[in-house]
Symmetry: C3
Subunit: 434 residues, 3 copies
């Protein structure tokens, strides 16, 4: 039988290939148990594909992440009365309390401050709390002359001088550095800029989805110029929930933090602006959603709060020393606001839809695999089904261990009149079975 | 027939499993209509896999996103003549117009400024434009003493004083704060730092693809040290399109914005540096591509432009008051440049290639599913094909509704001499069909 | 035979569909060669799925990227002796050398500085090195009056004055600008803030995985408040490798850079904090891993190092000119540290596990495809196997080229008593084969 078949293979023209179609042969089992189980699995998978991957996860859309630029402008005036040492009676405006004046995706509002005014480079007594600073005579200090004590404020000059801490009778080594030393103790119970909670910040957030050609969308039709200038964000009311002007206290309260709890020691807040847009609907509906979180919580009690030091430097002409450099040192406590813009826009596209349908169809094969396990290994009638599903073919190099058990002609499950049985189809070199 | 089969199953050694191979039985249909449709589908899927997923999307490569560090250095000198109040004749250099002196992935160049020099903390007349500021007698102001009027500049002292707005005859409440009040009106038509368009910025962009061991690549071989120091970016010429030194006007024009349109009121520009590299080619070809966009466009007319306030603080010794704190307040308009580095490098790897081929093969099954639907449900000869494709097996618990219609022995499609027909194969508990 | 079958199809109730199950018919080939190859392929794919996709890539977990906020606090004192011109003997603290006082995910520590003190806006001689600055008479300068020479420091006033470079006898044009001109030559071999290597930085990194409800975890149980305040990062010792307080020299050495190599000219370092957490274990084990890299390496010799200019502005009252604006110009060299927080947390979830198992099962089909190629096209017995695998069916519109070669009744591979042979099953409109 071989020669004509070989010839046929040889003669099969390239054209022939285009008019063929291969499809698996199927055992169609009618069984309540298996059928129900099979359909249940298939429906679960279909529900996952259609319900979850396509509808819920919007598998019919292509997506683009938001491109964003944030600029912020804080407004507000605070007044501190004269009880705070080193500051005196003072009105604070935005150029005083926003430090540095601008940042990328962030802004800092000073709410409390400890000032050490009029420091200059000279000699003064070291803090008695510094290890090794206390001395009896100059000789004690000469030993460490020129070194900076751990946590000290400058190199030791070698002189032993009375401490200038009020009421202290100790003598300490003199250091050379910014004198008088910084006093970083907060005075009073309330923060210096108590009114900071009423400051407002206008967060200009220009976004773009370049692939879809969508730029910053008007939050809604009513949001006209004059409205925008006057509005104020209010999470509760639907009218003002898109307004990009925020009272600082509204932000902290949106994160469940009373402003009083954060203003004295400072803290870090995150403002999340989420632009999740479905551009299959009107771009009018592409609006931001604002959420607020406090970020400096955590288990380190040592890492609560937020502060840093900065200085104003200035020079003053003294008759005796000429031009002398001075500085006012500020230990600034306050709230650091980080603005995070996230989100993506989706729009219908045929490519992801086809891909999801395709991979979903492949997933349907898993139902068949699971049912096969049930049918071929679990059910009582497994041997019957196995007989129907499998055509046993023995290659020329079949494993011979069980050969003696499988005699020829035995068990003709797919019944036939020739010797090709379920168990003993045998290939011979280059030809079909005998 | 059951006992020997059971025995065989039992005796099937673990080794036997390694010498078996299961492959689906296939109906090979020769039909022009179905065959052409099938091949068309398969070719479409193959074209997608090979053309799109593997070649176009580089499915044979593994990718790594760029790691980048950006530092910027602006150079240039601008001169403003004496016509600008509060500034006078002045030459501006980089330490004057870049504020803050450095930022992360961004820099700001001041192009216009309104200065209120010599402010100090004292009392002065409130702006008559502030609601509630206008008064007739001290009594009017006493009522709001200590409060800060909305949009006011400080707490009301309680005195009613003549307004210091030139030509105004109104009386207004006195406030305590930074006096004189800020004058934030721009004077003149041209920006103060008109020459800002000729400033240059050197954007040092050190990138790395750690997985591939590629660091900042020379843009091209000619780009020697002396060339780099002198070159200037020019989008048009191929020689200088990789030069990292940019004239500010070239940047804005690259975004289609005339520098004159952005320099007076300020704005936000994005500089996108794209490092999309195919490391299967020479790393010499791994070069950046620069694009520019204006980010502060949009529908909010209120959010055009960019400005912020900052102050220089200094102390002056007065005979009468001792050391007095002063500040020069600047309202700085200018262009904020955001530098965004993106891109990824790809290099050949066998793992993603195999994965793409594998998932592509799985996708080919979809062609069969679609053709099956055509063959089994659409074509006129559907019953003939269904007969060939399916072997109908009736489990012991088959659904009995149609039982009477399917008599035994009927319709022996896969012709056989025993009673196993297409329609009445019946499983009995634990054994094969009789 | 057609009518009853059509009737049956018509009568198939919707309910019937739920009690069916389709499974492919399989050729079960027993062959050492093919079987071994098949099992080898399957095991490779299984090893990939289980070993790589599920176990190694944690395919049984759902993941969330880390949300992070970084704040930094640098501590340390440096002393520079009087040999540096323009600075004099000076002690430097954090308010002096961290510029700006805070940044987002970054901080800069000045290690070296060149100061030009006491600049004010007036006229002075241009740098003789500037092209076109050298003159013989005022007439030379009158020609370029009002223009800023390339790389010059201000507009030319029109006067020709002696150069103020020591030892120079040339005459140069006078310019109007910040005078005296900046001297940006470094003096001395060692950086001004030599002690900067001993500064420490506390990197407060508050992280969160909101989906899993995990906030900043204690690095370990021993990491108590008092320990944290005193610890110092040490990559080697397991006790202190989670400590978030770093000596600057430890950071540069962690990147393989001697601090001396980076402190004079400056540089850019990256601190990578990796929070890769497996939340199936205790959150106690969710600890950061620190790595350090130098970013300003590369091929541009011109882009080594890091420096920028900033100024302190102050006003001084002169009897003659009134209040005069001065500034101290600093060219600050130093190390810019960029803090990058990355990582993700994984936790067991049934959805990704099922998805991975599903797609893995689909991938197993690839083994069958490859073996089929071997069996049907490579092996000598390919025609025998092809005969077993395929049932040839000729549709009514079959391609007729080879028709004459396939006579009816020939080659009854699946042996049967009727005319349905492997080669001449023919579909007729709406019915089965004759």
């Amino acid at each position: 039988m071989a020669p004509p078949q070989v010839m046929k293979s040889a003669a099969r023209s390239a054209l022939d290939v285009f008019f063929e179609y291969d499809t698996p042969r199927i055992v169609h089992i009618r069984s309540k148990k298996v059928g129900l189980f099979n359909r249940f699995l298939q429906l679960s998978i279909l529900a996952y594909i259609i319900g979850y991957a396509i509808v819920y996860k919007k598998g019919y859309q292509e997506f683009e992440n938001v491109q964003s630029a944030v600029t912020t402008k804080v407004k507000g005036i605070a007044f501190s009365n004269g009880s705070i040492p080193g500051i005196g009676t003072r009105t604070w405006d935005v150029a005083d309390y926003v430090i540095p004046p601008q940042e990328n995706d962030a802004f800092f509002v000073m709410t409390n401050v400890v000032v050490t005014p009029g420091q200059t480079q000279t000699g003064c007594a070291e803090d008695p709390g510094v290890t090794g600073a206390i001395c009896q005579t100059n000789a004690d200090c000469e030993q460490v002359k020129g070194t900076i004590l751990p946590s000290g404020s400058g190199p030791v000059t070698g002189e032993c001088v009375p401490s200038d801490v009020p009421g202290s009778k100790e003598k300490v080594c003199q250091i050379f550095g910014w004198c008088p030393l910084e006093n970083d103790k907060m005075q009073g119970d309330s923060p210096v800029l108590e009114n900071a909670k009423n400051f407002t910040v206008f967060i200009k957030n220009n976004i773009e989805f370049p692939r879809f050609g969508v730029r910053q969308t008007k939050p809604s039709k009513q949001r006209k110029r004059h409205v925008l200038k006057k509005c104020q964000y209010d999470g509760a009311s639907s009218r003002d929930k898109f307004c990009p002007i925020f009272r600082l206290e509204t932000i902290t309260e949106g994160a469940g933090v009373a402003f009083e709890n954060i203003s004295k020691e400072g803290g870090v807040m995150q403002i999340v602006i989420d632009w999740t847009c479905n551009l299959d609907y009107s771009v009018e509906d592409c609006v931001p959603e604002y959420t607020f979180r406090r970020l400096d919580k955590g288990d380190y009690s040592v890492s609560r709060g937020f502060n840093f030091r900065f200085a104003d430097r200035y020079s003053v002409f003294n008759e005796s020393t000429g031009l002398q450099l001075y500085r006012n040192l500020y230990k600034a406590y306050g709230v650091r606001f980080l603005v995070t813009v996230q989100g993506k826009a989706g729009k219908f596209s045929i490519v992801p839809l086809l891909l999801n349908i395709g991979s979903g169809m492949a997933l349907l094969g898993v139902a068949t695999i699971i049912c096969d396990i049930m049918v071929l290994y679990v059910l009582k009638a497994k041997n019957f089904y196995r007989d129907k599903k499998y055509l046993d073919v023995k290659g020329q190099d079949a494993f011979e261990v069980l050969e003696e058990e499988a005699g020829p002609g035995e068990q003709m499950s797919e019944g036939s009149t020739n010797s090709v049985s379920r168990r003993n189809l045998t290939a011979s070199d280059g030809g079909a079975a005998p």
